[in-house]
């Protein structure tokens, strides 16, 4: 029973926290100046990237339905996967559509 549960070492946690904090700083540095033309595409593109939660959703949906809690978990996982996929597919496509319009300059 106990062996089935994950464990975490302080080293791994500290590494994860470092990654977390440094990524926040990186995010601020990356796009300090954005022209207004790109505000909407940046937002929808960034939103599509936040759909990375799809990776967690894939794992969450991959639970054998054996009745009771496990089938509940699987059901929630599938719903999570569907929403994350909408986020990813819809987000990147609609950003691409917008950017294609911006490309047109003088007719």
């Amino acid at each position: 029973m106990i062996a089935a549960l994950p464990t975490l070492s302080p080293e791994v946690l500290i590494a994860a926290l470092s990654v977390f904090v440094l990524s926040i700083f990186l995010g601020f540095e990356l796009i300090s100046k954005v022209p207004p033309t790109l505000h909407t595409p940046l937002m929808s593109g960034a939103n599509a990237i936040s759909g990375i939660t799809i990776v967690g959703a894939l794992v969450a949906a991959n639970v054998a339905m054996e009745g009771g809690r496990s089938s509940l978990a699987a059901g929630i996982g599938v719903l999570a996967l569907a929403l994350a996929t909408i986020n990813v597919v819809g987000g990147f496509l609609v950003t691409g559509r917008m950017l294609a319009m911006f490309k047109k300059k003088e007719r």
Binding site: I24, H39, T40, N47, I52, I86, G91
Partner: protein
């Protein structure tokens, strides 16, 4: 099995690098298309790695391809339809909704993991724990609490924002109690999450956490009005990233932590830009509804502004060298962007230079006007930012204001202590003639009467933006 995990982690690192390059690319016009493609490539890679790893590590039960396929196919089809079908005028609603879905997905992943592991955790808590279990347990449960709180708030907040944007929200639905209720809901969610830390298998606290978080999103966005929407939408965008980051701690995946933080930071930067453009501190947007602050709402005196006909307005363009179009939310509502372009074409054919002045918070989301004008084939080099165009108004013969109000209200200069005081505005009052297309004299979102409407150099064209501009176009062609 270990080496598979390590390889997968390296692959996720590549995906994260692609996201970083993608977001960087999206920050500049020349590289934006490539940036979006890099982001999509990173996402494809991340999904591929996960699926391969699932297959490689599957025990006797194998991968649940039915369930996984169902989620991917259903989500993919809906996402594709939404992206293909949406009109550019519906873009703010779509962006809001996608933010919400992202937040909900992050919450649901945490929820599914908790539901799956809670029985085993309850058993382990009673027995002799293996080393490292206690730390994992704490991080896992704090992560679940954070992703639930932020994710559900993002979902319901986004749905309310979407309903408000599409005019389907009933303003009477605002929760009573204002900020005290928000604080209470937030405290309730934090307490519920803390109780789950004590008893992960408790259904009661799980439901309490979900319910308070959902209500919190409604309580936050419901009192926030139209013109503050660009701030709200970019903030929700940021939250959807933070939720993904929290979920990264739940499932122990660095790709989620990195990309979630990047998006969180990007959203916050946009939020800051929007607040600055309105000269409104972020806390005012969140905790002080404009209407309440502007209690004065019109000084009681009734002034009348003269309405003009389209052909009178058309004459002012005769011989004009420079005309500046100032679009606002009204252009989006009446979908007048195409007529605006046709008028610009007609003016340019007559030798008038046409520029567009874009206020950063014009419309209901960051960059709203840019998207609409791009849809109408206006080249983006004719769109000018506030700082770059303001000096040109004094040389401009005609300023054509289409459905904008607060962003051109001189009260920002003349009444520094008023609700609009200090907000950077487009100085259309300096133009020789200002034509304002607007449905009525009603004050803008800030509740401040606009002095510009009553000036002698102003011509008001009362009516629906598209209808009035079509008349103006016809009159210009007859000139």
């Amino acid at each position: 099995m270990d080496s598979i995990t390590h390889l997968a982690d390296l692959g996720y690192l590549v995906a994260a690098a692609l996201f970083i390059l993608g977001i960087k690319g999206l920050g500049s016009p020349r590289t934006a298309v490539r940036g979006n493609q890099l982001g999509a490539a990173g996402m494809f890679l991340a999904v591929l790695i996960t699926v391969v790893q699932m297959q490689a590590e599957a025990g006797d039960a194998g991968v649940q391809w039915g369930l996984v396929g169902l989620g991917l196919a259903a989500g993919g089809a809906v996402g594709l339809l939404m992206a293909k079908r949406v009109e550019m005028t519906g873009m703010p609603e779509l962006v809001a909704l996608l933010n919400g879905f992202g937040g909900a997905a992050s919450s649901l992943v945490g929820l599914a993991e908790l539901v799956r592991l809670a029985p085993e955790m309850a058993a382990a808590d009673g027995g002799d724990p293996v080393p490292g279990y206690a730390l994992w347990r704490a991080v896992f449960l704090v992560g679940v609490g954070a992703s639930s709180l932020i994710g559900w708030t993002t979902l319901t907040g986004s749905v309310v924002a979407m309903l408000k944007l599409s005019g389907k929200w009933n303003d009477k639905l605002a929760l009573p109690g204002g900020n005290a209720v928000k604080a209470l809901l937030l405290a309730g969610a934090v307490v519920s999450a803390a109780m789950l830390l004590g008893d992960p298998a408790s259904t009661t606290w799980l439901i309490a956490l979900t319910a308070t978080s959902c209500l919190l999103g409604v309580a936050f966005v419901a009192p926030i009005g139209g013109a503050d929407m660009p701030v709200v939408i970019s903030f929700l965008n940021s939250l959807s990233g933070v939720a993904a980051s929290a979920t990264g701690f739940v499932v122990g995946n660095n790709a989620l932590i990195i990309s979630g933080s990047l998006v969180g930071a990007a959203g916050l930067i946009l939020t800051g830009i929007m607040c600055k453009a309105m000269n409104r501190p972020f806390k005012d947007v969140m905790f002080k509804a404009y209407g309440a602050a502007a209690g004065s709402g019109g000084t009681g005196e009734k002034r009348t502004a003269r309405g003009y006909e389209a052909d009178e307005a058309a004459m002012t363009f005769d011989g004009a060298r420079l005309a500046i179009v100032v679009p606002g939310y009204g252009m989006a509502v009446s979908q007048a962007q195409h007529v605006v372009r046709e008028i610009a074409d007609e003016l340019e054919a007559n030798g008038t230079e046409v520029r567009y002045a874009i206020h950063p918070v014009a419309g209901r989301m960051p960059g709203h006007m840019n998207v609409l004008l791009a849809e109408a084939n206006v080249p983006y080099d004719k769109l000018y930012e506030l700082d770059d165009i303001n000096s040109a108004f004094s040389e401009c013969d005609v300023a054509l204001v289409v459905g904008a109000n607060d962003t051109v209200n001189p009260a920002a200069h003349t009444d520094p202590s008023g609700p609009l005081g200090g907000m950077p505005i487009l100085d259309v009052e300096k133009a020789r003639t200002t034509i304002i297309v607007k449905r009525s004299l009603s004050p803008g979102y800030a509740g401040v009467d606009n002095d510009l409407f009553y000036r002698s150099s102003t011509m008001m064209l009362f009516g629906d933006g598209k209808k009035k501009l079509t008349e103006l176009l016809a009159a210009l062609k007859e000139l």
